[in-house]
Structures are given as structure tokens and as C-alpha cells.
Symmetry: C3
Subunit: 483 residues, 3 copies
């Protein structure tokens, strides 16, 4: 019996295979079997060859890629509206920039950030980053701009260039992930605009429970001109040590406790106005009122004769599911040396004589809560907040089947108290108290709406001529997307 | 009889298959058949596994990509030469910027556009765009800069940020696709630089025969500083409704008729010069002579006391194969209110007294024709012109076989008449008449050469001191590429 | 005998194939053979179909890509420190910018380059490039910015836009590949900032032994404003012809001899200060001291009445393995015409009367050597230096196996003598002599550290008020990465 005769007839038809049931007579069809096997073997071999070639191409491509620099491009768009429903004359004077107590702080629509970001690696172990912000297109700003070495022992990275000084959690958090639209006064005052040109080391332990950053920086902000020119280099050494002793891995980080201490010691050029060096005196502390005003409402000016200062910061984040409670406090003690000319600038918030030592300080505390149940992630290796992912994105779309679908995103409420004292020993930079109520509507993991209402007061300020204190209210809203 | 014995001998040799013809004796070769089938099955199964894995990887990658933001990068380079072979003293006075009737308009070579464009999506349904123009590298400009929601019901998209106000077809056409180098006076005067910060909705019907755009915008041009600061928000509401009742699908759109009506109502701050607000008075209408001059040759200045204006525009495009006839007309009526100070600025094109109501208007008509048979496509969903693709690209290259090849691209001629009246009721912005002859040489779908010759006159102008009218001739040529 | 009965039993089990050894009785199992072959054929065919579809998709994608514009993005970050340990009063006066002989040249930290580069093609044979430098973010500069045609006969490319004038090897070398941090005085003085708006042709012979570049350029540097406005177009024609008569292909180019001659003839507008044209007089030659000072330390000023000049340059590179010896010399002869006003500017380095003809000249020679055995590659098609690849990258990393690994990169030493004479016939631009010692530490092919120590003097200078000559010493270091 020919074994092939029992192939189901319909299958034979389907496959157009003709196998004769009579093994004796129609033998001219029978060679098919070996021929077909041989043909199959040939074809399969050819195809395996093709496949191997293809896999080799992919592998070669992948290896070639590893030998070439890589590049990643991203960016962010932050569009703001800020209104100033209420303000006292002191505030009007400061914000007008010309001491005009009649002109209210003006409402505004603006791009807070219009940022293009590029980063990449160079084989084997170098990296670079370049961020440019075009929120004011005619005056682009450099943000991160550095080159460095990765893969150093202890998970360390060494970076040279423009980068954030490791002081103040809220400044180290990306503006994409911060809970309030603008940073608290104390963090901004003692680490104005955060980024400076420096050389810094970043690392963390293998279990990610502890991390550190430390470096040496030039004190001048070169974000807009990209250069420091002056014989007094005005160096500052800053460092930060953080840990997350509690981090609930099982829930994907819905519970954690972060704490950190940071500090810096700096030697500004207090005599810049009197010597032949071209650099400015970077012994100056100032901040906006946690809102996007035109002027800094608390400001010590460039303190004449300042020779050194030391700053210490303490941080804590306690996150339990949707609830987060975060606080920081920063202390800054400053020294003037004897060579300062007696004469103070006639402009500026100074008494007739000022002391040789000062102490400025400030901090904030906030609580935030997700009404929709999400939580605010934390990145252990950097000791900063991370990207929030809503359970459900916000959308209102046509579905294929004709009906419309929608989702509502994530809702987060937050309340912050925010304090800064820049008035001491004859320097009247002002004492600020702020309460900020915030509502964040996360549309997607990459986009959200931030709304802040701020009530505040300034006291003991030398920046106005008609009053030393004043109240104000500010409303701000920000539309954000990043990519 | 063994079915395998009849395999053709040469095939057996070719394939190195050894099958013994004697089924009885040499049975040790015969197991090959099942063994080989089994081996084939194993190998095929293994390969199918590989293939499935690979397909799964591709699918996973594709799904992962859909969950990540996407980004597209492009740009355009437009390099211009402009010459001014002839000009009367009025024109010399205006163009010199200092009222110098001796200095002719100066010839120039310039980058008209050096633009970097990025756009992308954020899952599930948000999008963004960011365009920066570096034609004057030291003063970058923001162009489109927005975030928004797509996939809204009725093919709608909602955008927030800097975007074109929907008024005037020629402004809504991309500068990459416009037939003349510079936009007509009326379109530019009543929608200067087109883009404003606003919130706007865009949509079209499923059959693409009708589309719409409407939104609310701040009136100030923030292309260079990215911010509006002032208590008077100066809002304007603009909208456009377009349709293409005839669109010849069968020829791929070689024939179509587009018509549209657009309009706007705006409330500029006519008292900006007299109150404490920091914003400017954006009640101003001005334009260059459809050419890249340094100054605007027709200009009302900032009209003191202007409180509101309404503008209406009508559009039509009739395209029959290589021939296109396009026209627009815009009407602008303006009102001043009583609180305006009597005193007019001493500078500016004003009579001693000016009326309380004005009427400005203008438009253009052009015919264009492809000598080489191509046509000018139209995009129904936006109601604007689209990219021209030459039948044959322009090139002159070495061919592999040693001989040289060439192609000639596409040639398009065009003629435009262009009119604008900005003189009324004591405001002497000028009355302009222009004739522009154009020759476009499309090298590829992405590059072309535009050549324009312009003859024109200005009458009833208050911008000069020596004359109220003058003639001029301008020659311009533009080398364009986009990517 | 059934041929299938001899299949090894364990194989049958493994593959779950059940073939009955008894061909007579259990015939219902035997159809397996044909069925299995048929099934294999079907599956293989289906898979071949999938594979063909996939290959077709890849091919289609590849073809579609070829019809679309392509884009490549890259950039470079150069971060510098420059110190001025020693300087005489003449140098202090010049560098202060205000003639202050007390203020030393100030030390500086700066981004020398923070560059974003994009280039691409448009099918079939057009190309474009756009480079923007944000080293001073508030004042971006345009570098290469052009469009053009490739694939022209004789390997030629025709470019229109901002591009380097073909004069001076050291300027044509990319700043990524140059051996010293800053370019020699003579090359910079006679081809300041290199790039101008022009139309130029580039080509080379098929054997790459000879290459050429020639073009016509506007003389004004429009890197920061992107536009030239003025009735006097101030054209210059420049060309360069290079060859590499010796190029050792077998060693991959470790040995070569490059020589070139370049030249230019230009007609600046010497009367720009006295006529109604808005353009400047671009008859000016100046340079920094081969270091990143604020001011140009040798400078003729804008030479009044200059009507034409001709410049000739000679180049040679001899590379033998790790050793390279390179030299250039440039000669510039200039003519003033009779219509120049007799009165010279009161400011500027001029004697009471100046001649009608001048001759300026300068050059340099350097030797460089790799201590670690690498060599400095050369690109024959452009006649310029190319990227150095270290034998071993510099790194210090954690290896997977717990121990630490390191590599040391490549070390290159170099010494340059550098001369420029800009003092002749009453124009006292200065005579400069420099010796530069350089040490380059190549970390990877894409990153390095350059260190330069410069000792120099200026003589016969009219730029100071207290002295006509002075010495100086400069130290510079640059951290570089490109991608």
C-alpha cells in the first residue's frame, strides 16, 4: 500500500497536489516525494540563509550604532497667564521698575519655556547635553550645556559645563515635574536660576538608597551670554547628600521618605565695583514672589564688600500614596571684610551703615493630594520628583464606532506656605510670606494645566520709597507639554 | 514499488541526495524521507518561531512608540536678493528711515527665512509645534508655537499658543507654497505677520468640502519677545469659513474652485499712550510694498483713540489645470471713541484733526500658469495652496554610464495686481498700487527659484515731507529649499 | 518495506511524529508523509510570502525614503578657559577696549562653540546645511547656511549661501580637527571669520589627487544679522587649488604630502564713510593673538579709500606617521584710489598721511607629534585635516566582573611659530610674533582636551597711546566634544 494514497482528497485539491493512489501504474508522479523534500530543503536552506543574513545585518547595524555618537531630541512648551488682582503701593513701586507707585503690576500672557533639548553619548563613555530656551526668542538662554564622563566607579558621572548647583530640592526638580508653577522664594533666593558653569560629580549607591552630588562652580549666571570674564573667578563649592530610607518597591514607589542635606561655601568679589576687574559682585540674593513678575520683589542688591557666605539646606519628602508632604529650610550666613569702602551705594536697600555679618534664611512646606488616586513618583538616583502618569488620559474624541469617548485625566490639589527673610543688619531685602493654593490637571503623562492662587505680603523692605511693607494677590495658570 | 526510486538522477546529483533505486535491499538510505521531513518540520517550526518573535518585536516596538511622544523635524532656507532700480523722493524718505530724500532704497542680499521646525504628538491625543526662525540670527523669531488637542469630534483640533489668525488666504498659505515672493499689501496690512497668541479651533467636514477656523487672539505681535505685558489684553476674535464646491478628484485635484469668507472684530487699546498700562496701542495697519524693503511704505501709525475695528475678507481660487486665477478683497472699518485726547502726535501721518470713523480696504488678483504643464495643488482640509511637484526635476548629473543627464524642472509664470488704501478721514497711511510679474522655476518638489519684478506707486501718503506720492520699481529673486 | 520505518525511535518521540513501522496494517498513519510534505510546502510558501512581503516593505520604505528629504543633526560643544599671566601696557590698553593701561587682560571661562548643525538632501540632487552657534546664547550666529546642487559632473557641488571662502588651510580645517585651539594670525587676518555669502563650486578629480574650490562672495560678515544692505555689493572672487601628490593608501593615509595655492581679488567700498550707501567699508584686516581675547590685538581699522586688494596663499602639509609639519604663507597687496578724502579718521592706527599702496603678509609653521603613535588623517577631497581616532579611548569604568578598567587615549604635542605684519605705509596695524606650545589629549575620536601656552609680542602698533610694542603670555585650555 502506498502510504501517500490516504491523503484527504479535499486537501489534495486545496493544495493542488496530485498524488496518484495507484503506486504501481502512475509512477511518474511518485518522484514528487523526494523531489519535493529536496526542493523544500533547498528553499528552507535558502530562507535560513536570508534570515541569517538579515540577523547579521541587524547585529552589524546595532554594533555600528554603538560605535557612533547618539543623540536624543526633546523639549517643552510652557504657556502662562499671570494676573495681579491686588497690590499695595510698595509692590507697585518695585514691579514698575521705576519706582512708580501708581502703576499696578501688569497682567501678562507669555511663554515661560520654549525649550529645545539635545543630549547624547559618544562611545565609549562620554556624554553631553545642550538645552536652549527660546521663551524670549530674541534673547535665547542656555540651560544645561555640558560634556562629561559616565560609567565611572560607584555609578558616578562627572560633568563639566553649565549645570544646576546641588542646593534646594525644588530647584533640582525639573520644571516639568514640580507641583507648583514657580519655585519657592528661599530656594530661588539662595540658588538663583540654579545653573552655573562648574565641574561636578554625581553618584549613587547600588541599592539606590543614597546618592550624592558635589562640585565647584563659578558664581556668575552665564545663561544668556555664555561667558564669564573677570580676574576674580568667584568660586563656590556646593554639595548634596540624599537618601530614601523608606521606599516601597512593591507598590512601585507609592510610598517613600526622602531626606537630604545640602550646603555651599562661596567667595564672591565684594570689591568688584571698586577694583579693575571686569566681573560683577555676585554676592546678591533675590527672588520673584513665587510667580512670574517682571521684577524681583525681594532683593538684597549686590552687597558691597561681601567676602564669603555659607549656605545649608535641609529637605524632606514624605509620600504616602496620593498624599505628599514636603518641606525645605535654607540658612545663609554672610561675611563682609574690612577693605570695603565706607561709602555705600546711594541706590539699593541699604541703611546708612551696614553690619559685617548677616544671616538670611527661609523655607517652605506643602501638602499635595491626588483626588483621582494617582501618586507623585520619586527618582531615587537623583533624589528628585519624577513624572506623574494619570490612570486615564484626558480626551474627548470621535470613536470609530460613531459614539464619542472621553477621559478625565488626573486632579491634584496642593497648598504651600513659603517664607523668606532677606532683611538683616542694615540690608533691607525684605521679608516675604506667601500662601499658594494649587490645582493641577494632568491631561497625560506629558501635559498638564497648573493653576496657582497666591496671597502674600512683604515687610521690612527697603526697595520702595513710600512704604516698607505691602500685600498682594496673584493668579497664575500654566499650560504645559513636554516631549 | 518504492515511490522514491523514480526521482530523476540528475536532480539527485544536483541536490546531493542519494536515494537507492532498490527499495528492498538498501533500506538504510530510506529512512531519509521521514527523517528529512521531520528535520524540515523542526527547522521550519524553529524559523516560524523566529519569525513570530520578530513580528512580535516589531509589533511591540510599534505599540511602545505609540505610547511615547513623537517628533518631526524640518525647516526651510530662503535666500533673497532685492534691488531697487527706480524710486521717487517720497519712497527714498520713507525707506531711509530718517526722512532722507537723497538715499535710494539700498540693494540687499539676505536670508529671508532660516527656519527650524519641530512638531510632534503626545499620546493619546495632544500635539505641539515649535518653529524658530534664524534669518536674523542675533534676533531669532518664534513662528508657530503651540500645544493642542487633536481627534476632537468633527475632525477638529484645538490649539493654544502662537498661530496664524484666520484672515487672508495669502497669509494662510505657507511661504513655501505661495506663488509670489512676498504677500500682497492688503493681506499683510490687515493681518500683519499673521501669528498671534490665541486659542483657536480648526475643523472640516468628513467630505472635506467645507472647513472652518475660529479663535480669540491677543492683538500684539510677540514673535520676537514671546510675551505680552499690559493690563489691556486687546483681544480680537477672528474666523474663516471655506469651501471647495468643485474639486476634481479624478484628476488628482487639477481642477477646483475655492471660496471663503473671513472676518474679525477687535478692540485695541487706543489710549495706551495716555494711561498707566504698559502695553502698546495695537490699532495700527502697515505693510511693505510686497517686497523685502527695510521700512513699511504704507503705514497708519498707531491710531490715537482707536477703540475697535471690524474686518471682512473674501477669497476665491479658480484652478483649471495649469491655470490659476486667485483674488481676495478685505474691508476694514474702524471707530475712535470720545475719550481720546484732542492733541495728535506731532509725528505720524495725521492731519490736524482726524475723524471718528475710518474705512480702509484693499485686495489683489493674480493669474498664474505652468508652461510645463504642472498644476498648483490645493489642500481642502485647510483651504490653502499646497506643494507643487514638477513632472521632471531639474538636474545636471554624471550618469553611471559615462554620459551626462539633465532635467529642466517646472516653469510657472504669474501676474498680480495689488491695491491698498490706508488713507481716510485725516489718516494718511497712503494708497498703494502694484503690478508684480513673477517667474517661478521649480527645481524639485522641495526647492525653487522665485523671481519677481514689481512696478508701483504710492499716493496720498503723509509719511514724507517733500511729496505725497511717488513711483518705484523693485526686482527680487529668492532661492528656496525646504525639508 | 516501508521506507519510513527506520526513523530513529527517539527522534519520533522528540518530534511527536508517529510513524507506524508496519506498512501494511496501520496505513491510516502513513498518509503523514505526503500530508506532512504538503503541509511543509504550504507553510514554507506562506513564510516565503511573508518574507517577500517584508523584503518588499523594506524596499518600498527605502525607495520612499529616497524620494523624501533627508536630515542629519549634529553639533559640538567647546568649553574654554583662558588666562593671561603676563601683559605689557600696550596689550592692556588694546584689550581693555577703552585704552586703559592699568586693566590687565581678564581671565575667562566661556563656551567657545555651542553649535547645532543640520544638513540634508532633497531628491534628486539638492542639498542644504544650516549651522547655528549659541556660544553667546543671546546673540546666536549663523555659520554654514546654504543650499546647493550635488552630483554635478567632475564630482562637483555648487553651493549658494553662507560658506567658508577658500583661503587659508587652517580656516578650512574644521575647528573640531585643528591641532591648535585658535587659528594663526595671518589666516584669520586675511580671511576674518572665513564665512561669507557667496556662490561657489567645489570639486575633485576621480583619483582624489587634485581638488578645487572657487566662488564669488560678498565681503561683509553677516554671521550675526543674516543680511547685507548697501548699494555697493563689495564683491570678492576667491579660489583654491590643492593636491596630494603623495598619499600612502596602503597605510590608510599615515603618510601624505598636501600642497595648495589659494588667492583672492576683492573690491571693498573704501568710500563707505563718505557716500550715501548704508554698507560699511570692508577693507579691514584684524586678528586676535591666536587666543580668545576680547579685542583684536592687531587691527588696521577700516582703511579709508581702499579700492581693491589681492591676496595669495601657499600651503603645505607633510605627514609621516605620527609626525606632521605644516606651513602656510599669505601675501596681501592693497590699493587706495585718488578719490579718498585727504582727512583720515582721528581715531585708528594711522599716521598723518598714508600711502596709496600697501603690503601686508604673514604665515606660520608648526610640527606636531603623537606620543602614542596615532596619526592625523587628511581628507583628499577637501584638502583639509580630518578626524583623529585614538588607538585606545580614555576611560575609567566599572567592569562587569567587578574590577575596574581604564584606557588612556592619545597624546599629541605641537609647536607653532606664527607671524603677521599689518604695519605698512602709515597704517600701523601692528607686527605680531607668537610661539605656541600645544598638548592635545584625545579622549575619543569625538572628544579631546586642548592645552595651549602662548608667548608673543606686538611691535610697530598704532593701537595704543603709551607704547608701540609690548609682550604677553597666554594660557588656554579647551574641552571639546562633537556629535
Amino acid at each position: 500500500v502506498d502510504p501517500f494514497m490516504l491523503v484527504a482528497p479535499q486537501m489534495i485539491e486545496d493544495e493542488s497536489i496530485v498524488a496518484d493512489a495507484d503506486t504501481d501504474s502512475d509512477s511518474d508522479e511518485e518522484p514528487d516525494a523526494f523531489a519535493r523534500i529536496a526542493e523544500l530543503e533547498k528553499q528552507l536552506e535558502s530562507m535560513q540563509g536570508d534570515w541569517k543574513d538579515f540577523q547579521k545585518d541587524l547585529a552589524d547595524e546595532s554594533i555600528a550604532k554603538k560605535k557612533k555618537p547618539t543623540m536624543k531630541i526633546g523639549g517643552r512648551i510652557h504657556a502662562d497667564y499671570w494676573g495681579f488682582p491686588e497690590s499695595d503701593p510698595l509692590v507697585d513701586e518695585i514691579e514698575s521698575g521705576a519706582g512708580n507707585p501708581v502703576q499696578d503690576p501688569q497682567d501678562r500672557v507669555l511663554f515661560r519655556r520654549l525649550r529645545l533639548e539635545m543630549s547624547g553619548t559618544v562611545p565609549n563613555n562620554m556624554l553631553w547635553k545642550m538645552q536652549l530656551d527660546f521663551n524670549n526668542p530674541q534673547t535665547p538662554e542656555m540651560k544645561d550645556a555640558y560634556l562629561g564622563w559616565s560609567n565611572l566607579p560607584n555609578n558616578q558621572v562627572l560633568l563639566l559645563g553649565n549645570q544646576k548647583r546641588p542646593l534646594g530640592l525644588d530647584h533640582l526638580n525639573s520644571s516639568r515635574f514640580n507641583i507648583f508653577a514657580e519655585r519657592p522664594m528661599a530656594v530661588e533666593a539662595f540658588n538663583e536660576d540654579a545653573r552655573r558653569f562648574g565641574l561636578a560629580m554625581y553618584g549613587y549607591t547600588d541599592d539606590e538608597a543614597t546618592g550624592w552630588a558635589y562640585g565647584v562652580y563659578n558664581l556668575e549666571n552665564i545663561n544668556t551670554d555664555g561667558r564669564f570674564i573677570g580676574d576674580n573667578l568667584q568660586l563656590g563649592a556646593y554639595g548634596r547628600l540624599w537618601g530614601s530610607p523608606w521606599y516601597d518597591e512593591t507598590s512601585g514607589g507609592r510610598g517613600y521618605w526622602h531626606m537630604a542635606v545640602s550646603g555651599g561655601i562661596a567667595s564672591p568679589d565684594g570689591d568688584a565695583a571698586y577694583d579693575a576687574d571686569t566681573n560683577n559682585n555676585d554676592g546678591r540674593f533675590r527672588t520673584r514672589p513665587s510667580a512670574r513678575s517682571s521684577q524681583r520683589w525681594l532683593d538684597t542688591g549686590r552687597i558691597p564688600g561681601i567676602s564669603s557666605y555659607e549656605v545649608i539646606g535641609l529637605e524632606s519628602i514624605l509620600n504616602i500614596g496620593s498624599l505628599q508632604i514636603t518641606g525645605e529650610y535654607l540658612f545663609n550666613s554672610l561675611q563682609r571684610d574690612g577693605i570695603t569702602p565706607a561709602a555705600l551705594p546711594t541706590l539699593g536697600p541699604y541703611d546708612a551703615t551696614i553690619d559685617d555679618d548677616f544671616f538670611f534664611h527661609g523655607g517652605y512646606i506643602y501638602a499635595s493630594y491626588f483626588l483621582t488616586g494617582e501618586f507623585n513618583p520619586y527618582k531615587r538616583t537623583t533624589g528628585t520628583l519624577n513624572r506623574v502618569t494619570p490612570f486615564e488620559n484626558f480626551f474627548l474624541v470621535d470613536r470609530c464606532n460613531g459614539c464619542r469617548g472621553n477621559g478625565w485625566g488626573a486632579l491634584q490639589v496642593a497648598l504651600r506656605y513659603d517664607y523668606l527673610d532677606l532683611t538683616d543688619g542694615g540690608i533691607n531685602g525684605g521679608v516675604g510670606n506667601l500662601v499658594t493654593a494649587g490645582l493641577n490637571w494632568h491631561w497625560t503623562a506629558y501635559s498638564k494645566l497648573q493653576t496657582n492662587m497666591i496671597w502674600g505680603s512683604i515687610d521690612d523692605s527697603g526697595l520702595g520709597t513710600t512704604a516698607t511693607s505691602g500685600d498682594f494677590a496673584i493668579f497664575g495658570t500654566r499650560f504645559m507639554i513636554d516631549f
